[in-house]
Symmetry: C2
Subunit: 115 residues, 2 copies
DNA sequence: GATATATTTCGTTAAATAACGAAATGAGAT
DNA sequence: ATCTCATTTCGTTATTTAACGAAATATATC
């Protein structure tokens, strides 16, 4: 079904989801860290992560109390792999992305994941 | 702006627009031909074509009474070029697309573009 | 210039999407 | 077993998107 093929493009059609992908390429992050970086409601972030996972871009793994999200290193869909490999080609030179990456460096998990 | 980068993915996030791209790769078509093939309202098709044009995938050229749409051979955005070059990679093996292509072969312009 | 006809624009409707906060869930820590 | 959080689900709202038909526009042809 053509609608199935499109899922991938739809997943990439949101600024926040692209930001998440780039973040996770730097290192795996738990939901609360991503939430802190995007400054969105946790429920919203959770949904974005779900969409990215369904499309095959990311995977999750529990670690202690937290669920960490990872870039998927073994995507079933070769197109997903291509996009992940060439992500910079598709969303290069973006100020928002650069700022995100800087924030990740100085991210204090203790602070980000405690109310 | 990240929203600008996304325009390309959004343009690809619709089944009918992907069908149009593949059709035009076979040969240029006027709006009424595309309309006849997609079986949608002409106004709807016109909008899809506009979105594809805005994203840089296609160009238009008047010929007689008709406006013909072409795959853009000189996209300003290198990403657009990549997608056009590798379109089969992104939407391969789709029954709908195959059926469209068959219909184009036996398309009678006279019939398609006259009420 | 008038007419016929293809195409675009406009206004509306229905469906999909993104966001929020609150409530429910689930898994580790006590 | 209970408690404590992080996470997900639910219900709602606002925005965006896709579709239609009717009306407006534009352009060959007569």
């Amino acid at each position: 079904m053509l609608n199935e093929k499109i899922k991938l493009f739809k997943a990439l059609s949101d600024p926040n989801r692209l930001r998440i992908l780039k973040m996770l390429q730097l290192k795996p992050l738990c939901v609360c860290e991503v939430t802190s970086l995007l400054n969105l409601a946790t429920s919203t972030v959770s949904k974005h992560l779900h969409i990215l996972k369904e499309a095959g871009f990311i995977t999750e793994k529990k670690d202690g109390k937290w669920v960490y999200y990872y870039i998927n290193n073994n995507p079933a869909d070769k197109r997903v792999n291509r996009i992940l490999m060439e992500l910079d080609f598709w969303i290069s030179d973006n100020q928002q992305i650069i700022s995100d990456i800087n924030k990740i460096e100085e991210l204090d998990k203790q602070l980000a994941c405690t109310p």
